[in-house]
Every structure is written in structure tokens, then in C-alpha cells.
């Protein structure tokens, strides 16, 4: 079969697919999953995980509101970079995504409700995409809000100087980068944990292994580093952290790549992991007694 035949087949296949139905099914799945995942008491600890840094900065703002030194702004910019890179990427988003995305399928197995999803005329690939997007929407909404709150509170205490840093200086660009990186982190970790939940009955242990891998990936060869989510995120962070002490392993950039390549690389990694999830979902069986 030559390339022309292959293209013709792909076009024929594409024309035969009910794309509009897929679209409406995905929007319904997203709606239902968001209601199920976002507005529930079970998720309170995730809200706390996301908002703890903002609450600390708010306390700092209230306590130190009569002692504002503009020279402190540069240090606070570094602190904010540390909060995003060390807390959110390594802990907050990581564990929140572990909870949100592993629950999408494994949670339904625990609650014995997954069979309802398998008994409707929805392709399982569509189910994976719908659930992934729903999880992504929840995680992104939560952490973008949290990062935005941290950013706002960090510069709000400096009054006009802070305003000037944001609107006339590099502030707005940094905020844009943080929001982009946060969204990519949510989707990247989300894809990983979705796949893990389809591979393992208890994805917690493999999740911890992934956490270890993300931490030590920088000491591995360049090709291996590309299999880590933080490899791509680090290249997109607008403020570099000083490389000091044992935490340096989290901040060093072994082989710099352009932001465009970093975004594209991470999106490719996400698509590859989702493709794996689509393959795995076909092997999934409803055997609640084994859970």
C-alpha cells in the first residue's frame, strides 16, 4: 500500500466518523465529571493544597502592611518563583492531579458506577478524552486561580511600585508564563495519572515512583529527561531560581530548549500518554469484586 492509498483510507475513515456526536458526548461527559469532581466535599483538601501559599502570602501581607520596602520586591519575586517551581510543580499540582485524575476511572470502580459509562453508545476513547478534559478543567481552574492569587498578593503589598512592576515591567509577562506553565503541568501530570489509574489498581505506589523520577530525572541522559513533565516546565518558567544546596537538583536545566519546543514537546508527551490510555481502556473490565 502506497502513501496515496494510506491518505485516501485515512480520509475515508475520517469522513465516516460521527465527529459531531463525539463532540456533544465529550461536552456532556465534561459537564458531568466537573460537577462530580469540582463541587464535592471530598475535594476540600485539594482546595487547601492549592490555596495554602496564597493564604501564607495573605498573612504576610496583613502582618507586614506597615513595613513595606520596595527593595524587597526582587526577593519576593524569587520567593514567588520558588513557590511555583518547588511547591506547586513538585507537590501541589502533583498530588492534586494524582487525586483528581486517578479518581476519574479508579474512583468509579470503587463506587461501582463505571459500568454506566460502559453501557452507553460512547466509544471508550471518547470517554478517556472527556474525562481527561474534565479533570484538566478542574485542576487548571483551581491552580490558575491559586497561582493568580499568589501573584496578586505578592505585588499588591508594594502599592504603586508593585503596579508599575506588573503593568510597566516584566510582571504581566511573568504572570502569563506562570499561568501557561501551570496549565501544562496540570495536563501533563493529569495524563500521567490517568494512564497509571488504568494500569494499576492502586496507583499511589507508582505515583510515588513517578514523583521520584521527576526529582532525579535531571541526572539522567537528555533523552531520558524528555520523559519527565518537569523537564519541559522548567524551560518555561520566567524566573530562574538560584542553584543552591540539595534543592538544586529541582532547578538545574541540563540541556536548554526553546519555549516553543518545550510546549510542543510536552503536548506530544501528553498525546502519547493519552493514546496509551485509549489502548488501556479497551482492556478494562468491570470486575468490582476484584477491587
Amino acid at each position: 500500500m502506497n502513501a496515496q492509498d494510506l491518505v485516501a483510507r485515512a480520509q475515508k475513515w475520517s469522513k465516516e466518523q460521527p465527529w459531531r456526536l463525539f463532540g456533544s458526548q465529550i461536552s456532556i461527559l465534561v459537564r458531568n465529571e466537573v460537577r462530580r469532581n469540582l463541587f464535592t466535599r471530598r475535594r476540600i483538601w485539594i482546595y487547601l493544597l492549592a490555596l495554602i501559599p496564597a493564604l501564607i502570602i495573605l498573612t504576610h501581607l496583613i502582618v507586614g502592611k506597615y513595613n513595606v520596602d520596595v527593595a524587597q520586591m526582587e526577593i519576593d519575586t524569587q520567593v514567588l518563583a520558588g513557590i511555583v517551581q518547588l511547591y506547586y510543580f513538585r507537590l501541589g499540582i502533583f498530588f492534586a492531579c494524582m487525586a483528581i485524575f486517578t479518581w476519574l476511572f479508579r474512583g468509579e470502580m470503587v463506587e461501582r458506577t463505571l459500568h454506566y459509562q460502559f453501557l452507553v453508545p460512547v466509544r471508550r476513547e471518547v470517554l478517556v478524552v472527556g474525562k481527561f478534559l474534565a479533570g484538566g478543567l478542574v485542576a487548571i481552574t483551581l491552580f490558575e486561580t491559586a497561582v493568580f492569587a499568589c501573584f496578586y498578593l505578592t505585588y499588591a503589598r508594594f502599592g504603586s511600585a508593585g503596579k508599575s512592576y506588573v503593568f510597566d515591567g516584566p510582571g504581566l509577562g511573568q504572570l502569563g508564563s506562570y499561568l501557561l506553565v501551570t496549565a501544562l503541568a496540570c495536563l501533563g501530570y493529569g495524563a500521567v495519572f490517568l494512564a497509571l489509574s488504568l494500569l494499576f489498581k492502586n496507583p499511589i505506589v507508582p505515583g510515588v515512583v513517578i514523583m521520584g523520577w521527576e526529582a532525579i530525572a535531571p541526572i539522567f541522559p537528555a533523552w531520558a529527561q524528555r520523559l519527565s513533565v518537569t523537564f519541559y516546565l522548567k524551560h518555561l518558567c520566567p524566573v530562574s531560581l538560584p542553584v543552591i544546596g540539595p534543592l538544586a537538583i529541582f532547578t538545574i536545566v541540563a540541556e536548554p530548549v526553546s519555549p516553543f519546543i518545550a510546549v510542543l514537546g510536552l503536548l506530544c508527551l501528553i498525546i502519547a500518554i493519552l493514546a496509551l490510555s485509549c489502548f488501556l481502556i479497551h482492556r478494562m473490565e468491570i470486575t468490582y469484586t476484584a477491587e
Binding site: L29, E111, T113, L119, V120, P121, R283, A290
Partner: protein, 316 residues
């Protein structure tokens, strides 16, 4: 499409959970109508239903439902409705939402989905409580709301795993009437139940299962014929029981003839019912005995089940 587009076909289907047998080498095909899966707990009824609907995959063999497989979910699940026996629901859902949203996933628009939802709720007798949360329903109501969801999209194949569990007598009668009405429209209704008398009454055919094997399959009377070597019981009400019993004993295939306590009838156990009926005809035409009534005493699912696997089949 590799099989009859009106049949449900199992071809040499086996399912193993590791080393544990689910079902083994199951082969049969079902025509439209009501089919009952009967067997004790662990006999493989639910496994068979889960295989049929793709909730689990076969270790061996193939299954076609109206020529389709669950690997074509869009076409397949428009034809198939499955009321499982899992008594669990998405948290916080109301009865209405439980039916409405799956219909939207079928591709129905808002109005059409709402219309079908209300229709299904009416048919299941759940319209009055549809806006309440399912978590507050009684067991019977939960059973009926699952049934409503299974029938809402008007499937051609309705699979019901223990659908009468938890229903009060009136709801049970209504459900049975509903199954019969669906079957009369030329659809497949596949029911598993341990309430043998009820499935016996409504079934067109039975599939008897034991330890993962299909031990008999077909119309109840056909299945009975499959067990020819086991004597069949025939109850004869007559004027002269002693004479009838004596005549019956002269036949080789009659293994027992027991006069009833009231003296007005005989319970005959025979390996050849047709020959015995011929004898009865002779007796009647000879005027020796006046026959009031003749009826097979064990031509129901429960008796057949006892013959085949030495168990009464339930409760599951």
C-alpha cells in the same frame, strides 16, 4: 456483520478470571422473545450477561448481538439495554438525571431526551419520585429506576440481571407485564432470576447453567425432552385409581405409579410420556376408568433444574 442480524449468538465462549472459571465453552443462539438464564449462585449467569454486553471480554470465543459486538459501541448500545444487579449510583444523582444524561450521550437532543426520560419513568412507575435523589430511594425503587434507564432508549435487546429482586408483588407483576409487552414487540428479553416460578411462566425458553456450563438450553418442553432418561411425572385424576395404577405397571417405561391419598388419582413416573398417553387413550376408550384430568406434574423450570443438577437453583 458475521451472524444472523436477529439472533444473539455465543460461539464457544469461555471466560476465566485467572485460574477461576467463569463460563466454559458456551455455544447457543437465541431468537427474539423472553429467555431466562437459570442457575444457582456462581453458576455463571451474571458472567454470561456481562460478556453479552461487553462489560467483560471473553477469554475465548465470540459473541454477536444482532450481528454486532460491543467493540462497535455506538451501534451496539443503541440496540442493547442492560439492567445490572449492581445496586450503586453516581453520587448525588436524581432519578430523572440518571435516565436523562445517558440519553443525551446516545445523541438525543434536549427535548427528545426529556420526552424519552418521562416515558421511561412512567413505564417503570417512577414519575412521581423522579426529582428525588436516588440515594433516598427504597431498594425496589432503585431496581425500577435502573430498569427505566435500561428501557429508556427503546432497545431491541433488553438484558436484565435479577430484575425482580427487591420488588413488591405489585411492582413484580407490573415488571413482568412490561417484559412480556416488550417481548411481544419482537424484541429479545434476557432475564436471570432465582424466582423460578415467575421466569417459568413468562419465558419462551430457558438456559440452564451450572458451575459455568450450560447444562440445557431451549424451550422448557424441549429441555424436558433432553432429559428423557429421567422419569417424567404425570398426574391423572380419575374414578378408579387402583385399576389405572395396575394398568400402568404393565408398561416397561413406567417406574412408579402412586395412588393419591384421596384415592381419586395416580401420580405416574414414566420414561416415555407419549406411550403412557396412548395407554390412557385405550383405557378411556375401553370405559374401564373415567379420567377427570391429566397434567404433567413436573414440566416446570424448577423440576427440570432439579433433574439436571440436583439443586433447586436458588436462592441466588
Amino acid at each position: 456483520m458475521t451472524s444472523d442480524a436477529r439472533q444473539i449468538v455465543f460461539k464457544n465462549v469461555s471466560k476465566f478470571y485467572g485460574e477461576v472459571l467463569g463460563v466454559n465453552k458456551v455455544s447457543f443462539s437465541l431468537q427474539p422473545g423472553i429467555t431466562s438464564l437459570v442457575g444457582p449462585n456462581g453458576s455463571g449467569k451474571t458472567t454470561l450477561m456481562n460478556l453479552l454486553t461487553g462489560l467483560i471480554g471473553p477469554s475465548q470465543g465470540v459473541i454477536y448481538v444482532l450481528g454486532l459486538t460491543p467493540r462497535q459501541p455506538i451501534e451496539f448500545f443503541r440496540q442493547v439495554g442492560f439492567c445490572t444487579q449492581f445496586d450503586s449510583f453516581p453520587p448525588g444523582t436524581t432519578g430523572y438525571d440518571f435516565i436523562y444524561w445517558p440519553l443525551r450521550l446516545h445523541g438525543f437532543g434536549r427535548d427528545q431526551a426529556a420526552k424519552l426520560t418521562n416515558e421511561a419513568l412512567e413505564r417503570a412507575g417512577m414519575a412521581q419520585v423522579a426529582r428525588r435523589r436516588v440515594a433516598g430511594y427504597s431498594k425496589g425503587m432503585r431496581q425500577r429506576i435502573r430498569l427505566a434507564q435500561a428501557i429508556a432508549h427503546h432497545p431491541s435487546v433488553l438484558v436484565l440481571d435479577e430484575p425482580l429482586n427487591g420488588l413488591d408483588p405489585m411492582a413484580r407483576a407490573e415488571s413482568i407485564a412490561l417484559f412480556e409487552a416488550i417481548a411481544k414487540q419482537g424484541m429479545h428479553v434476557i432475564i436471570s432470576s432465582h424466582i423460578l416460578e415467575e421466569v417459568d411462566r413468562i419465558s419462551d425458553r430457558v438456559v440452564l447453567m451450572s458451575s459455568g456450563y450450560v447444562v440445557a438450553e431451549g424451550q422448557i418442553r424441549e429441555v424436558r425432552r433432553e432429559v428423557q432418561d429421567h422419569p417424567m411425572q404425570i398426574l391423572v385424576r380419575c374414578s378408579n385409581a387402583a385399576r389405572l395404577a395396575a394398568a400402568a405397571f404393565e408398561l416397561d417405561h413406567v417406574v412408579e405409579a402412586k395412588i393419591l391419598n384421596d384415592g381419586h388419582g395416580v401420580l405416574v413416573r414414566t420414561r416415555d410420556a407419549e406411550q403412557f398417553y396412548l395407554l390412557l387413550n385405550k383405557i378411556v376408550s375401553g370405559g374401564l376408568v373415567e379420567i377427570d384430568a391429566v397434567a404433567p406434574a413436573d414440566d416446570d423450570v424448577n423440576s427440570i433444574y432439579q433433574y439436571l443438577i440436583g439443586s433447586d437453583g436458588g436462592p441466588a
